[in-house]
Amino acid sequence: MITEYIWLVIALPLAGAVFLHFFGRFLKAPLPGVVASLAIAGAFAVALVATLPFLQGTDHGQGILLWEWMPAIGANLEILWDPLAALMTLVVTGVGALIHAFAIGYMHGDDRFHRFFTYLNLFAASMLTLVLAGNFAMLFLGWELVGLCSYLLIGFWFTGESAAGAAKKAFVVNRIGDLGMLVAMMILFAVFGTLSMEGIFGEASQLGAGLATAVGLLLLLGAAGKSAQIPLYVWLPDAMEGPTPVSALIHAATMVTAGVYLIARSAPIIELSTTAQVTIATVGAATAIWAATIALAQRDIKKVLAYSTVSQLGYMFMAVGATAYVAGIFHLMTHAFFKALLFLGAGAVIHALNDEQDMRKMGGLFKKMPVTAVTMGIATLAISGIPPLAGFWSKDEILGSLFNRGGWFSVLWLVGLITAFITAFYMTRQWVLVFLGEPRWADDAHPHEGPRVMTVPLVVLAVLTMVGGLVNTPLRFTLEHFLEPAFEGVRVLHPPAGWLMFAVLAGISVLAGVGGIGAAYLAYNRPKEDWERFESGFGRVWGLWEDAYGVDDIYGTTLVAPGLKLAEKAAFKVDLPAIDGAVNGLGFLVRRAGQGMRVFQTGQVRNYAAFLMVATLLLMIWMVVGG
């Protein structure tokens, strides 16, 4: 059976990374990229074959133990190959392979070309470790390794101070989330005596309500770190310092969705706690609208996409929080298609304009780069929720599910709807600013379409963006059916049944999307002075958005600076003077005592002899008289 060789999915990119690490420098420029792309394409092929049994319905998932890791705490390397893992694997390897290919063109000429593909392959292997994990410890292994690869790739151009700082920031912020994961695993082991998912999920009800809430919230903390949710989202915009294919692969399509995957995977635990569900969904909704407003005012083409990613991840959190796991995973998949496409397109634009990222210095690129413009246009429509593109189906399913659950979730539905409007607005703003209007780029730039290796992935992703949503429509819930075994025994929330409800809800959200697109088109398809006046019309609010609400500064003054001060106090006010001072003080006292005794050491033998004799005499007198 192919399932027994499923470890190949991890091993292939890993082997690619190892090979490139040691021998990559001996290969000529495009070759390392080709090797890396083949490795991940091979993983895709294996995953595809291994998914067939699920499609045929002959298999519902199984665990495969690779080897024992830390048996004393039930932490082993075991794979859980079920439809959910299969879907994630296909997304990661499929989109990953396209981005690998794109990067061959994008990174051309970089003197650490092979190193880039080493990291990219290592990332793929780590991400696949994460999604294939059948044990929380192994999931954590992948979880941290993708964080490492993200660190390495954000800081790939390490000579830039900001890149190095952004890399460290990403790692440290993620670590704060990981703390939540660690504590969650401690609790899980204490309750279940194992960290194996099969063992835990089978008996999840043993947790009890209180601990289920605790675990759910701790998992949320971990997920919020990795998936850039409030309050830990601040690392993702900075992460745009990395090369653009990295942003596409790691910070849009795959790694940042790990948090959503984690929550969906832990559905049997989330199931037990309404508090956790409400918190997750609310965090998602808050993040969605918060980041969307920031994205409105960004000038940097990649920053818009970064905040857009944060916002879309918020949608997914709303979904999985509301227990609409399938909707969340569905949106994860479609988002991977169109967001990767948007990032790659942005990369092509940046590449064409000699690394220009400021959208005010773009414009009128439609004629120069038609393929990029059209594909990015499709993606923009998709993310705005225009039917029948992929984003429409998944976003609508999320909103419908929220509406269906009612209560507090209706409020979240409304937030989602407003966010949909804002999303359509800022995405259209971006597309118009980049591709329409007057050319505003520098004179020495000669924008042109990239080579085939860059345009073909764009086209493939555009096709996926167009048809990808059809896997789960009210006509035929293929994905839903496919994922059923993975959510066995878990109540999954659905949109309200019936065509009428569907039509009404879809109509409202399409209206929001179309409204956003239209408004942005009207506002921005005009000369520069006009839309600048439009933006300044918002007054200080626009500045606040542009400055991302100043959260970085707030964190800096309320967390980083006091923390540093505390460390300095500990080191230079406590450790050196107090603790070490006490030790040296003790030594000083001993020496002072010695100083006092010096008078007896005259150096004259006869004095010593006299002391001796007097002492002996006194002793004898004492013995005679006292004894």
Partner: protein, 509 residues
Amino acid sequence: MLTWLILLPVLGAIIVALVPARRKELHLPLGVVISIAPLALAGYLFWAFRPTAGFQFSETAIWYENWGVGWRLGVDGISLPMILLTALLVPISLGASTSIEKGAKGFVVFVLLLEAGMFGSFLALDLFLFFIFFEAVLIPMYFIIGLWGSERRVYAATKFFIYTAFGSALMLGGIIALAFFQRDTGTPSLALIDLMQVGLSQGQERWLFAVFALAFAIKVPLFPFHTWLPDAHTEAPTAGSVLLAGVMLKLGTYGLMRFNLLLFPQASVDAVWIMGSLAVIGIVYGALVAIVQPDLKRLVAYSSVSHLGFIVLGTFALTTGSMQGAVIQNFNHGLTTGALFLLVGMIYERRHTKQIGELEGLQKVMPMLAGFFLFMALASIGLPGLNGFVGEFLVLVGSYLTLPALTIVAASGVVLAAIYMLWAYQRVFTGVPVHEENRSLTDLTPREIGLLAPLAALVLVIGLYPNLLLDKIGPSVDVTLRYVDVATDYDPPTFGYSVRVGGEAVGNR
């Protein structure tokens, strides 16, 4: 065979001493070659060691019957990793000492004698013998720091010597007291196994526990007895730092596992909270202080304070997972911190500074060194897949059962570790080298790669397949914990719904 393990370095030291001082190009290579012999023997020992409980390859020869002291040696799963680590780090640290020019002969002799002393400490099953070795290692280390260190070497060496000797003097008192109590029960003996049989009153046991724990706590070093460590590390030559951090500190944690738990089980159980709290304070405090250290070596030294806190926490949490983690972390910390000190030494040899503020952009000129440094830094901050994670994760998950609140605090050390290590890496290695001194540095030589590669390989192998060690550690840990349970009325924390639902508390850890 264990006797040979101790004798080989001594014989080697004699051979090196016999080579005339003017043939100074011979001393270091000879030292490296000689120290391969104990490594081979330790390797054989590891291979031949059966994963069962109890001591193996035991040797006994009585020295003086009236006192019951004897040459009693043995190795079990707790000491085996330490033997392997010692045997591995000595040739590597000697190989890294090519910059020692004055008196290389004396240096090699002292390192080899140090090795013998460390082997003896880990192998001794007689308290008198243990004490001799425990003290004997101080002497060569004192000279290594005091003679071959940097500017404030005499201050650091003296502080190190007096501080640790103070602790062990108290322990000597404890050993003598224990010997007298034992004498009342039968034939005098200072063998560990006989001293375990002494029926101590609660007061006696607690006092003796405190005395032993103090000696070991200074050695570990446990907060607040740690201040000799940064000084000693900063001033010591590279080899001294490697062996100090890699092996000598572990004498403290090893002593706690081997002697405190076995000799004073009831007092150990009673002290779980105290030791756990000190350990956790050390974890957080050491990490916090490390963040702002201006000197790379001091930073690594304070990170050791933090990491060793995990080992003490794991030891006194008294669960299978936590103690397995503590034992394997003993080994892991030696690998990663040893390697980090090697790397700092390699930077120092080239640039003649360890000040973080004077270094910048080194990745550009020394990509290989930067790569090794990052690898080891990640291992040390517990990146899964590398060895540091295995130890810390076992400790954390295991300790949670006993000390949930403290362990959650301890886990925050993981975040702080990322901050101090990556911030230091950012400042030293990233950016563009502006200063001429930094721009003209050369990357690692093949010799240096040869020293680091085995450490890196072990870091990776243990990170992914820790069972290599855990298989052999496990039974010894189990038997130690079971002894503590049986000797006291300690009720180990249970876990897992099956145990609770089943009703019968089987002491499942």
